[in-house]
Assembly symmetry: C2
Homo-oligomer: 417 residues x 2
């Protein structure tokens, strides 16, 4: 273990959390890879930090001789991570400009930065942590450097780390406007509606077992833009119309419309992946079984019950209104039983108390969906590894408790791996 | 069993076979469902009848009181099958016009028709038999009614039975021009090149095990045209260019170009299926494993080794030049072992003698592809149920031997089920 010099008494330290977001109009394709400028606008739901978050502590001190970072307790090279460097540089330059304009300000832009970051969800869950991670990084940087930034301005810094991170800077329903300027200054997020606008919207994340590691999204996007004959049509003609329709559905809290657009856009994102050469597949047979099941219950019932969406992996995210959650949980745990070596509690706990007394998940089939019971096969136990229940939530939070800090008073990880 | 009246001594009987075809530019979408007019042109390779064919006997007699048909030994209702009726009506009207123009001709248009048809491949193989079946039906009708039709003209009659059947009317490389007229008179097939132009082109059909019955192609196409935002772009902008490029690749016997276009077009067909709402999936995890494997060997070797293509189901068809077949057979049988209860001979026989003395399929990995050996997992035995080896072949044939006839001298099936 390397030891830093003793920390300066003037050191500053801030800890924040930032949420995960799951897009309902998908981002896939960059028009500028370095500035991370997208080929189309996108829109997402920010999920509650009570369930899933990244937590980042930044320690700023004149005695930190170099910038250092620890992710989940392991040190990673800062200079080797160009995107991280871009975020740090942008924030420092901003601070430097403030200091030049006002010479009374402390020269924090010259101090070293130590970053400790952790996710409260296991990497094995297959959830992308880059969105919450980079949102948390730039949000914490803005706090520690006292940068006077609006949400949209801050989202541009997050975008430099990971495109979808710009949408985790705000809570509720967040759009990322693709922008048109070459320097990216208009490619930023804005809040379509806060989480309080539609608090009934909940989500289930079905973590799907998958043997193979899929194509990285950075490489995948580039190949799609270069080779898919359909992608350009999506960018220019489909998404602009769909963004408008999605904003209207959210404004109206129209779940049926929201759900249809969400499913269609997930399908189309995977369609352009398949039209890529060589083709990219993220959904597997379990993902497809989820699609077929959701399609069947939506057909069966008088109103749309749920919407599926899939990011760059086989995991399904199911959006549904609170009122549908009990039966949906029964449905999914019935058709996708827990792995044989995992307890029900580890497979699914019930943070929002949606399972009524007396109902046994995995055994009791929901009465409302009885008609689909015999039309689907029950999957092998463990095809879905875990079910996470969450809901729409707020934007990044500053934590005041020193217990929440990832770094100790010397700016080093509390727990080193 | 119903008995027909004794057959007339003037009865006519003809037996023909017709081939299967597998498209390399896919047909998916109709602009007119009744006339079976497609939304885009398509192009296919006719596969050898020595391996796969439909065989049809038509018995024409004044004593046949109604039209009857037996498919694989079981009688099916003629009036209930509108497309079959359309084919019979078109052929009879054509004959009637000839008889009106020349009163000396026998009045065959007034006689009853008995049809016996069989496929030499099991239904369980999951191969569409409608293309070879309808091609064989209209080809045999033209023979028995002595209709003076060119191939393209005859292909229009086949199209009334099943769109892709129009491409099984000729051998070699066959395009179906979508046409623009409302009555469909210019929506017909033409031969791009005969089988003798590129006889080295061979094919492996990997029959993939699949639990679920997929969406019927008739229903699927309609849903795609109605709901996919990408399909119209494919029809109007992608396919016309791809048809020209494919014809050039075939003219030049340029396998690399042929293969890339074939794979890209298969990918895009499945992409628009996925962009359909609700989405249609035909490929399963085994199909995807085939795609990844072909992609890997094409990357590994200095020249493109093989092209995959998938129709409306999980089966893979692999096109490759004769010279690559030994190592491809070794590759596929290694990664996709025979079902445990099926003998190697039933899993794959070697009609073209491509497996050299001493090579054991499923055990001996091809030396050329050694680098990919450990980068893929061997599938569960039986994920691929059967491998059929075939090659480019000729168009429908008239059989002269009475032994080949599906019907007996009375116009009834030799073997009734």
């Amino acid at each position: 273990m390397t030891r830093s010099a003793p920390v300066s008494p003037v050191a500053r330290q801030v800890t924040c959390t930032a949420p995960v977001n799951i897009a309902v109009v998908k981002y896939w394709g960059k028009r500028d890879a370095k500035l991370i400028l997208p080929s189309n606008s996108s829109l997402s739901v920010t999920l509650s930090q009570d369930d899933l978050h990244s937590r980042t502590t930044i320690s700023l001190a004149p005695t930190h001789v170099t910038d250092r970072m620890w992710l989940n307790g392991s040190e990673c090279s800062v200079p080797a991570n160009a995107r991280l460097v871009n975020c740090l540089t942008a924030a420092r330059r901003h601070r430097e400009a403030l200091e030049k304009a006002n010479p009374e300000l402390p020269r924090w832009s010259t101090w070293g930065i130590h970053i400790g970051s952790e996710n409260n969800f296991p990497t094995a869950a297959g959830l992308a942590s880059s969105a919450s991670g980079y949102a948390c990084l730039v949000f914490t940087l803005a706090q520690v450097l006292e940068l006077p930034l609006t949400g949209p301005e801050l989202s541009r810094y997050a975008r430099l780390g990971s495109g979808s991170a710009c949408r985790s800077i705000m809570g509720g329903f967040v759009a990322w406007n693709m922008g048109t300027r070459a320097d990216g200054t208009d490619s930023q997020a804005y809040q379509v509606a806060p989480e309080t606008h539609w608090p009934e919207l909940e989500a289930l994340i079905l973590v799907v077992n998958d043997a193979k590691k899929g194509t990285s999204s950075t490489v995948g996007m580039q190949t799609t833009v270069a080779t898919s004959a359909l992608a350009a049509h999506r960018f220019a003609h489909v998404v602009p119309e769909r963004m408008r329709a999605m904003e209207t559905a959210i404004a109206d809290r129209d779940f049926a419309q929201f759900a249809e657009l969400t499913m269609q856009d997930s399908n189309q994102f995977h369609a352009i992946c398949l039209d890529t050469y060589p083709p990219i597949f993220y959904m597997n047979d379990t993902s497809k079984a989820v699609v077929h099941l959701v399609t069947a219950i939506n057909r069966l019932m008088p109103t749309i019950q749920a919407a599926y969406t899939f990011d760059a992996g086989p995991n399904a995210v199911i959006y549904a209104p609170r009122d549908h959650m009990t039966r949906l949980l029964q449905l999914f745990t019935y058709f996708f039983p827990a792995p044989t070596d995992v307890s029900t509690r580890d497979f699914f706990n019930d943070p929002y108390a949606r399972v009524p007394e007396g109902v046994v998940l995995g055994r009791d089939f929901p009465a409302e969906y009885q008609a689909v019971r015999d039309t689907f096969a029950v999957s092998t136990p463990g095809a879905v590894k875990r079910i996470i229940h969450t809901r729409v939530g707020d934007g990044p939070r500053v934590l005041s408790s020193s217990e929440a800090s990832v770094l100790n008073a010397q700016g080093l990880p509390k727990s080193l791996k």
